[in-house]
């Protein structure tokens, strides 16, 4: 399978850099999968899981919040304001994230922002549920 270059960067560090087969992005207008040779595009991300597949049938999940993805000829770059690999996820961190999302929901009256916050809360709750198994 053709691979392409993928970089996941958060303000504090570079989380991932290398060749991958596919990346599933939680794009703001719906999840999308990026494969090698994708047309250049740019999209913002919502809160959710990004799935990196570097070997077929095997994926690592990273929780990202607030960021955007830039797909160009050179590959895919994801700039996430916050990125947490699945191994680092704990109940406490998720609780904090949920609290923050709820505060964001409380803070605005803008229906679009509220919807985004709601979906973020749902995603985070789901992640928390999954963690208990």
């Amino acid at each position: 399978m053709a691979t392409f270059n993928f970089e996941l960067v958060s303000p504090e560090r570079v989380l991932f850099s290398g060749a991958v087969d596919a990346v599933v992005l939680p794009a703001s207008e719906g999840d999308m999968t990026v494969l090698a040779g994708h047309a250049p595009m740019m999209t913002t991300l919502k809160t959710g899981f990004l799935v990196v597949t570097s070997t077929p049938g095997n994926g690592t999940r990273v929780l990202v919040r607030g960021g955007f993805a830039d797909i160009s000829q050179n590959g895919l770059t994801v700039l996430a304001e916050r990125a947490l690999p699945a191994e680092e996820l704990t109940h406490e961190i998720l609780d904090k994230e949920i609290l923050q999302a709820e505060m964001a929901w409380d803070a605005t009256n803008d229906p679009i922002a509220r919807q985004a916050a709601e979906s973020a809360i749902a995603q985070l709750r789901e992640a928390k549920e999954a963690l208990t198994y």
């Binding site: 303000p11 703001s28 207008e29 913002t44 000829q73 916050r82």
Partner: protein, 290 residues
């Protein structure tokens, strides 16, 4: 002429001071390494961000639709200075050189009849600027309890500035911090962050970019984030610069103390010898008189 005991005490106290400065230098060196790695780790994000913004901005013509963070308010009357300094002293000219740059800038603006507002990040800058610009300072942001500067700290500051901007409290914002060149060179820098200064990259490929959602919308979400990133970078550079400045200042102090000890030990030995000689002469001349 100080007595021998005085000299001994003085040497002991300088030695104690030297021990402290030496310890501070080593602590600063260890912290510097950490601050430097943090600053380097943050660099890819900031670079990527500016490339993406440059690509976006070069495709957009400035019009009434353009976000105000990029185009500005159209006025140039009220200036906001964000002065980032350290929370602690004993780091050479680090704090005062940033404060001096900010002060010069503020004086120039005031002379032009502009209104100046100041936000101080870090206590030391506040202490220096308070003397002259007490009425201009609108806020002091304290990062004393923060051990390692995180993105959240920068985000809080950016939110504050952003809400001030939305409320029409200022037209132009300039960020003052110290850029980290090397351990001995830190460059006080003034950087305009609102309206955003974006160097249009001429290297944008001809390939047609697709945007999801629309270009303008992406730009609107990106610009506040860029503000945060700029502040975050400034804070990290500042942290590294502070430790670098402290390290070289403490290195100097240790060396000075060493010289002082050497000089005083010499004086001490000389006067001790002089005393012995004097006593001997007294004994000998006493014996001869018999």
């Amino acid at each position: 002429m100080p007595s021998l005991k005085d000299l001994r005490n003085r040497i002991a106290s300088v030695k104690a001071t030297q021990k402290i400065t030496k310890a501070m230098q080593m602590v600063a060196a260890a912290k510097l390494r950490r601050a430097q790695t943090a600053a380097e780790a943050a660099r890819p994000y900031a670079e990527r961000m500016s490339v993406v913004l440059g690509n976006l901005a070069s495709g957009i013509t400035v019009g009434p639709e353009t976000p105000r963070l990029l185009a500005g308010t159209g006025a140039d009357q009220v200036h906001l200075l964000i002065v980032c300094t350290a929370e602690r002293g004993l780091c050479g000219a680090f704090n005062s050189s940033i404060a001096r740059l900010a002060r010069d800038h503020a004086n120039r603006l005031l002379a032009e009849g502009k209104t100046v507002k100041i936000i101080c990040v870090g206590k030391k800058g506040y202490d220096i600027l308070r003397r002259q610009f007490a009425q201009n300072i609108i806020e002091l942001i304290d990062l004393r309890s923060v051990r390692q500067i995180g993105f959240e700290n920068a985000d809080q500051i950016a939110q504050k500035i952003f809400s001030l901007f939305e409320a029409g409290e200022f037209d132009v914002a300039t960020l003052f911090y110290s850029r980290f060149r090397s351990v001995i060179a830190q460059i006080p820098t003034a950087q305009q962050i609102i309206p955003a200064q974006i160097e249009a990259t001429g290297t944008s490929s001809d390939a047609v970019y697709e945007y999801e959602p629309e270009e303008g919308e992406i730009l609107a979400t990106l610009l506040p984030r860029n503000l945060t990133v700029q502040i975050f970078r400034a804070l990290l550079e500042n942290a590294a610069s502070e430790q670098g400045a402290r390290m070289s200042a403490m290195d100097n102090a240790t060396r000075n103390a060493g010289e002082m000890i050497k000089k005083q030990t010499q004086t001490y030995n000389r006067s001790r010898q002089a005393m012995i000689t004097k006593e001997l002469i007294e004994i000998i001349s006493g014996a001869e008189a018999l």
